[in-house]
Amino acid sequence: MPRLDAEHRVVSGTAAGIAREVGIDPSYVRASFVVLTVAGGWGIALYLVAWFVLARRTQANDPYTSIPKAATPRVRLVAFAMIAAGLVVLGSLYGLSILSALLWPSVFVGAAVAVGLDRSRLDWLRLGELQKQAIGTRVALGLILLFAGVISASFVSLSFWQAVGGVAVAALVLVGAGIVFAPIISSLGTDLLAERRRRIRSEERADMAAHLHDSVLQTLTLIQKRSHDAGVVSLARRQERELRTWLFEDQAMNPNLGFRAGIEAAMAEVEELHHVPVEVVVVGDSPTDPNVAALLQATREAAANAARHSGASRVDVFAEIGPESIEVFVRDLGVGFDKAAVDDDRAGVRDSILGRMQRHGGSAFVHSALGEGTEVELRLPRATATEPQQVETSS
């Protein structure tokens, strides 16, 4: 990606930036700008456009590291446009006006279309939020080029065939404009609509939440307490959880689903699967990465084991995200197990919990004794990819 090259700049570093990207001496680029300027003023316009584009890149992505590579499609297009423009200017200087009458408009319209299509067509037509910052650049470039195309077309003196050419040029310009602007306009409209819809929804939800929070949640809690049918209890619990998630959706729907949301979702699944309530307490929060995801998996496995084998009436899960590590404790007061007796066929525990934590640079401890319940202790250092720590079990 070309960027301004402040180190070798004369004015803004634009020429140097382009030269570095294409892999030629900056003098050639500067010379082309000068020639184009002298030959009709377009050099200045092109320079400004290039500056504008490169300056945005520089802000977005700093510092520039020079990586030798082939010219990107966009750079190639710019280069083509410049070469074509140069030829046309030269041609017009020597009186080849018919050539220029056709070339000028098609060069600019072609460039406008190229700017619109520089990414894959699909990508471009689906212009989403991520690409918004690119819109400004595109609009500016498209406008300048289209304007230039129209102006140069209007300077052509009219003969019959030239008028036909003019109409064709106008059609090209319109198509180019359509390609450049239609997705933007339609996506802006869609965004506005979506935004309004979101706001209305969130207001409605707040109203409804106030209403539902006490009445329905209370009832669901009551059902859980008063019913002795495990199926009914788990149904009510699931409903309560779903309702709660829905009510607090604004908080829960963080696009980057953090550790807190992840563990709550995982424990809800365990609870639903095994009909044993899982109490989750989380302190702090952290974004997820592959290691954290592994920790979540191990936690899920530990909780599922507790729910499945311990016979306890509930499972307590406590997770604390500290500055240096994430610690998770999964505890039940069930039957427990004698490690020595079951060690060999506990491959599940060994692989899915201990092994997994080890592979991801964490550690796991299992404390258990017959009749005294089980506690699984998982620890994951927060610094990325550290050396695997020791893994042991103790009773």
Binding site: R226, R244, R331
Partner: protein, 234 residues
């Protein structure tokens, strides 16, 4: 460690002298759902005396001031001003009683608010009947009741989410021991289990719990509400 400050709680609990126990405990239930009141009453009615009920803030203050119960089971959400309003109203009337917050609410802000107003503990309505009776006994004896969830909220509040040391650094920071106790409580340990894990007495665990509660109640109001606002809690 702050083992020196146990105003009226643990000594009494140890001697079993002054505070009422079991069936002698007089309880008022404040909850705006008759169904919930009936449900809870059915669960604890054999073990404590439910002497009165109320379903809104004003009614609650009247009933509590008239009956002077030992323990008030207080819903966090109430028509006319929520749990903290009840506690403040009763305080203003200079009636001595103990509050135990009981709620379905998961919002940390609400829970912390009612604790800071003066409640001695917080349990969720999903709690089992025997555990609720145990919690009532504990509160009546002047102790703090930490459900795992409350312990988590409190750790969160003190865990550097906010700088809570502006007004009184000594009061606002939890000691290492207090943090250890809270962590074990959040992991689902009962007081007895915490005590044996840390090889201290149950009484010392109670002291730590009470002292955490007191710090929470005395800590910088402004900072704590900022914490709540920061987390955008409903």
């Amino acid at each position: 460690m702050t083992t020196n400050h146990t105003p009226d709680s643990t000594e009494n609990a140890a001697t079993g002298a002054l505070p009422p126990q079991g069936i002698d405990i007089r309880v008022v239930m404040v909850d705006d759902h008759a169904l919930v009141r009936a449900g809870v009453k059915a669960e604890i009615g054999e073990h404590v005396q439910v002497v009165g009920e109320a379903d809104d803030v004003e009614g609650a203050i009247d009933v509590i001031c008239a009956l002077k119960p030992d323990v008030v089971l207080l819903d966090v959400h109430l028509p006319g001003g929520n749990g903290p309003a009840v506690i403040e109203g009763v305080k203003a009337a200079e009636v001595e009683t103990c509050f135990l917050a009981l709620s379905v609410s998961d919002a940390a802000e609400d829970v912390i608010a009612v604790i800071r107003a003066g409640a001695r503990g917080y349990v969720t309505k999903a709690i089992e009947g025997t555990q609720l009776v145990d919690a009532i006994n504990r509160v009546a004896a002047g102790d703090a009741v930490f459900s795992p969830r409350l312990a988590g909220f409190v750790l969160d509040a003190f865990a550097g989410q906010i700088p809570v040391s502006d007004i009184d650094p000594e009061l606002d920071l939890l000691t290492n021991r207090e943090q250890e106790v809270l962590r074990l409580l959040a992991r689902g340990y009962a007081y007895k289990e915490v005590a044996s894990r840390l090889t201290i007495s149950v009484k010392t665990v109670e002291t730590h719990a009470s002292s955490v509660l007191r710090k929470l109640q005395l800590s910088n109001r402004h900072e704590l509400s900022r914490w709540a606002a920061h987390r955008r809690l409903i």
